[in-house]
Symmetry: C2
Subunit: 194 residues, 2 copies
DNA sequence: TGATAGGTTGAGCATGTGCTCAATCAGGAA
DNA sequence: TTCCTGATTGAGCACATGCTCAACCTATCA
């Protein structure tokens, strides 16, 4: 039925956020994209709520686009590390950076992003745990390790995307790979070696 | 002389940014704080330029407040690690997060923050290099190591400040200390140990 | 068919905000 | 004192943007 305009509005907002970022989206953009009157948006939502809900939907959509779908944990980790700084993941990280920033002053956004943050962490922790169970690597505290890897990844991505400080994608990828290898006790040269 | 109103405006803007963040500051706030007419701000600056200049000044001011001033590299590193997640450093990091986010879409801001980013990195790299020279630790590539430490620190601080995902200060501090120890080949338990 | 209810519309309102520009002021030169 | 130049002022403009609300559909029921 065409009558589910509420979902259409939410969906349009999420699409626009994926395309242009949270800050750039206006109520009028959303209603235009949804093919709906301005009034209807305000009938169903308050803007800050809609923005948060749409940002969450947009985040999940980007996560789904990037999440490793390989058959085994070690291959999943490979995919993760390969895609970690690929341009395909840029939209996700841009959105992530913007959302976490907004979350500092916007409770709705904070609430909406909570689930995503935990989801990403759980996903990564599951890979680490399963890989350890299968003997691919050593990882006694998967959740904590996932958090450290995610934090390092997050930091590096910020540098790559903002250029503050300047960091090439390839360099960043090397740093992350070494970090993960060290974290999991995988055979790889330490940080000391060039 | 009272006639240096330009500097007064810039200074007022920087103060307000330190107090309230970049996004919250308005031209009228600045002129009111500087005790100056609205027109004068626009006479001396374009708003986006002033905002970037003031953000840079605010960043440097916060950096100066946090930068380790101990006599030897090993003590400087201690101070750095001790203050890394202390509430005293919160304003710096909040500002840093906001500025780097803005820099993605604001060229003036990007240009202004460049120097700060390099400055922080240089500072840290210098400590690492001097410490290695004095035999406190091992660090063949200080600049790269500084970048990794800064990235990890940045990522962890983001988690602590935004709660996305939730991370306690004490936990974050432990993670960073272990990482630095590992990075510098210092004697300390590895990640595997609880 | 007419009445009712609830979805839907968009011109217009209220507010916020960067910036303009004619008017004003202050200090030095003549 | 008078004039002139450049600093300074702030009411008002132009624009952006979330949201209101009286009016308008449209489907359902009696």
């Amino acid at each position: 039925m065409t009558t589910d305009r509420r979902a259409a509005i939410l969906s349009a907002a999420a699409d626009l956020i994926r395309e242009n970022g949270v800050a750039a989206v206006r109520t009028r953009d959303v209603t235009a994209r949804a093919g709906v009157g301005i009034g209807l948006l305000n009938h169903y939502f308050k803007w800050c709520e809609l923005r948060a809900l749409a940002a969450e939907q947009a985040l999940w959509a980007e996560i789904d686009r990037v999440v490793p779908d390989a058959p085994t944990p070690d291959l999943q980790l490979d995919v993760y590390l390969t895609r970690a700084f690929g341009p395909d993941a840029d939209p996700l990280w841009r959105l992530w950076i913007e959302v976490t920033d907004l979350a500092m002053s916007d409770p709705d956004m904070a609430r909406a992003a909570e689930g995503c943050a935990e989801g990403i962490l759980d996903e990564l922790a599951a890979i680490l745990e399963q890989g350890a169970a299968k003997g691919h690597w050593h990882c006694p505290a998967p959740r904590a390790a996932a958090l450290r890897i995610f934090a390092f990844h997050d930091g590096l991505v910020g540098f790559v995307l903002t250029g503050l400080p300047k960091l090439e994608r390839a360099e960043a990828a090397k740093h992350l790979k070494r970090f993960v290898a060290l974290e999991l006790g995988l055979p790889q040269q330490g940080y000391g070696t060039p």
